[in-house]
Amino acid sequence: MAEKRITIRTTRFDPDKDKVPRLQSYDIPFSDDSMVVLDALNHIKAHVDGSLSYRWSCRMGICGSCGMMVNGVPKLTCSAFMRDYWPRSITVEPLQNFPIVRDLVIDMEDFMHKLKSIKPWIIRKQEYPLGAGEHRQTMDQIDEFRQFSECINCMLCYAACPVYGLNNEFLGPAATALARRYNLDSRDQGLKDRLPVLANSEGVWECSFVGECSVVCPKGVDPAKAIQQTKLDTTTRFVLPYGNREE
């Protein structure tokens, strides 16, 4: 039987040479049913064109670095099986809504700043001394924030978010989910410190509740829910005297 083949089109863009991104086509063997889109890129880089640039590491859906648009949909390429596309061709582009650094590599510095701005660490009025041992926390208390702690910072939700696409000042899905992760943690007392960022005009109020973020999230995080819950927080907390826990 003739070897199965597949056509992969990928974005090429080198700011040293190119004014605008273009698509380049590669025809490669589709030799194993277990192959994912990332395997195709790796085949191209190793055997056809060493200059193709993209990020990846774990190839097990946990490091968050391999997000790209696959036939127009934000995906982790290490978990996107070619058999789901074949015999159609596959077009791989950088995540949309982000500036392109090179080929399939996006600029995600904006998120790194947003992440820091929501103070993603445990804030306490008084540090609990190490010698006192651990805080007690039940599995039910963990369940309160668990899903929001599972964010791998893959940026698929930002690529799917129409609001972020129009205005990248918007704090956006993952950063809001992570703020929520800390606000809901029974060990944390930092809600008040995080509210200003969450409540300002580029914060959660920008969200028009399209919910695309939660659809594309590969880790079952529901950032749309985080945003809705945070809207509630920012209203009630400003009206009522701060009802923060352990105060």
Partner: protein, 570 residues
């Protein structure tokens, strides 16, 4: 000339590196710390760790037990003073992680829970479901964002250590975004660059695990210790090498051969699935050779069966395993057995460092998987290495801070010349190289294949000698590589070439160290020398770089305190 100066420079943004950076700030908040990482820190391979972190926290446990399990697991090649210090610090570090927000799974009373793990005689592996490394890494990374003293250089690739008068004063790094080659200087430098799994074809390690820090130190004249000790994990998914955590067996999973038999009863009847990794991996390969494995499109495999645990327990304790089964194998582990086979997983060997992470070069420290502080010996027990990253990351951070608080600043003079040399090397050997014909990808694949064949679960003299010749030939071909990418911006072909260069070098230290050790100990199993030989080989190997491919091997005594070497039976 480009350069930036700091007090402490950490190369690596994984668990060990970030823990070191925070410890350095805590030791002296006036210090300016740099953290250089070739990927955004949260992409570091710590993120993939699943099972848990060991710490003797529970009342029924003791430091002595944890120490003994570790030393026995190491087949007595561990330095016992280091192990004893480690077991005392590990619980403190696990609590520290809790205070920083790590979502450790809990017991009903709200305390940090623990699960059984291979080679551990009691429940001491603390876990955050089966995404422990992911949660630990994101917790320390997010916590590190509150320290304004830590200056990150994300996506900066270190190519060389700056060493002057046997004192380390910084690194040369390529800023991937701009392509700029720059010097970053510091009074102390900590290597925390992780493992080298990518020298093998079939590995649980991510693309970034290429042994860079080990090669950097080796080139600077530091010995690489016990490089023959490479851990093969019994349960990797065929084809991808994705790890199925030992916690699956800890929670009660069975390993079955093609006759549906729990074959471990022939090899390690008292421990069965909870035996140490080296022994189980050898048992699996032996079963394969006896024709009792399954045959699949990607080679032989066994079944790992958790169906009897039930959906509720699987969802509570092993949700990520169910997700991996569904995503990557197309099975539901609640209903189907998981295909698994031994896979290269962890490097016990590494940069020769002492209990505080100090290497023989003044100002240079190492921590985490890239280091060998003497903890893991011949075989690391699962869940000891996340704790190792915390304990020895923190120790190295403190020691580096102490040094940085007392020594004078780094002068510009030598740095300028060293930077110019390194910039020239990168240009002439890589970017501006003309007439090359060898593909990086081809040489890398051949190296990985040769390493799998020659330095795998079982080794022989013939196999290792052949491997050294193959690696030598690959090194010659590497001189003729071609680099198609001439861009300055995010040139991942250049970094792939630099990584391959590092990998060829550390592979050679593995092959030669393994060839020399004529005994079987821990993960190093020689078919031609099947017994452990304490009289001759109760010692650490140290490989030093020479002008030739072949390293110079020296040996150092193992420090024994309270646990006299005995036969390692389970």
């Amino acid at each position: 000339m480009d350069f930036e100066s700091y007090d402490v420079l950490v190369v690596g943004g994984g668990l060990a590196g970030i823990r070191a950076a925070i410890a350095a700030v805590d030791a002296n908040p006036r210090l300016k710390i740099a953290m250089v990482s070739k990927v955004y820190p949260m992409r570091s391979h710590t993120v993939s760790a699943e099972g848990g972190a060991a710490a003797a926290l529970r009342p029924e446990d003791s430091y002595e037990n944890h120490a003994f399990d570790t030393i026995k697991g190491a087949d007595y090649l561990a330095d016992q003073d280091v192990v004893e210090a480690f077991v005392r610090e590990a619980p403190i570090e696990v609590i520290q992680m809790e205070h920083w927000g790590c979502p450790w799974s809990r017991d009903p009373d709200g305390k940090i829970s623990a699960r059984p793990f291979g080679g551990m005689t009691t429940w001491r592996t603390c876990f955050a479901a089966d995404k422990t490394g992911f949660h630990m890494l994101h917790t320390v990374f997010q916590t590190s964002l509150k320290y304004s003293q830590i200056h990150r250089h994300d996506e900066a690739f270190a190519t060389k250590l700056l060493v002057e008068d046997s004192r380390c004063v910084g690194v040369v790094a390529i800023d991937m975004r701009s392509g700029r080659v720059q010097a970053i200087t510091a009074k102390s430098v900590i290597l925390a660059t992780g493992g080298l799994g990518r020298v093998y074809a079939f590995t649980t390690n991510g693309n970034i695990c290429t042994g860079d820090g080990m090669a950097l130190a080796y080139r600077a004249g530091v010995g690489l210790k016990d490089m023959e000790m490479v851990q093969f994990h019994p349960t990797g998914l065929p084809f991808t090498g994705i790890l199925i955590t030992e916690a699956v067996r800890g929670e009660g999973g069975y390993l079955l051969n093609k006759d549906g038999e729990r074959f471990l009863k022939r090899y390690i009847p008292n421990k069965m699935e909870l035996g140490p990794r080296d022994i189980i991996s050898r048992a699996m390969v032996t079963e394969f050779e006896a024709g009792r494995g399954f045959e699949g499109p990607h080679g032989k495999y066994m079944h790992l069966d958790v169906r009897h645990l039930g959906e509720d327990k699987i969802d509570a304790k092993l949700p990520f395993m169910r997700e991996l089964g569904r995503e990557f194998v197309g099975i539901d582990i609640v209903k189907d057995p998981i295909p698994v086979r031994p896979v290269m997983h962890y490097m016990m060997g590494g940069v020769d460092a002492d209990i505080s992470g100090a290497t023989p070069i003044a100002g240079l420290y190492a921590a985490g998987e890239c280091a060998n502080v003497g903890l893991n010996g011949g075989n690391r027990l699962g869940s000891n290495s996340l704790s190792e990253c915390l304990v020895f990351g923190a120790a190295a951070g403190r020691a580096a801070a102490e040094r940085a608080s007392s020594v004078g600043p780094v002068g510009a003079n030598p740095v300028t010349a060293l930077l110019a040399d390194e910039t020239r090397r990168i240009r002439s050997s890589f970017l501006d190289k003309k007439g090359g014909e060898e593909r990086i990808g081809t040489i890398r694949e051949e190296m990985q294949h040769d390493m799998d064949a020659g330095a795998g679960v079982f080794r022989t003299r013939e196999g290792l000698e052949k491997l050294t010749r193959q690696l030598g030939a690959l090194r010659d071909r590497f001189e003729k590589i071609k680099i198609e990418d001439s861009s300055r911006t995010f040139n991942t072909e250049l970094t792939a070439a630099l990584e391959l260069d590092f990998m060829l070098e550390v592979s050679e230290t593995i092959a030669y160290s393994a060839l020399a050790r004529e005994e079987s100990r821990g993960a190093h199993a020689r078919r031609d020398f099947p017994e452990r030989d304490d009289a001759k080989w109760l010692k650490h190997t140290l490989a030093f770089r020479t002008d030739r491919a072949e390293p110079r091997l020296e040996y150092a005594d193992v420090r024994i305190t309270n646990f006299k070497p005995q036969a390692r039976t389970y």
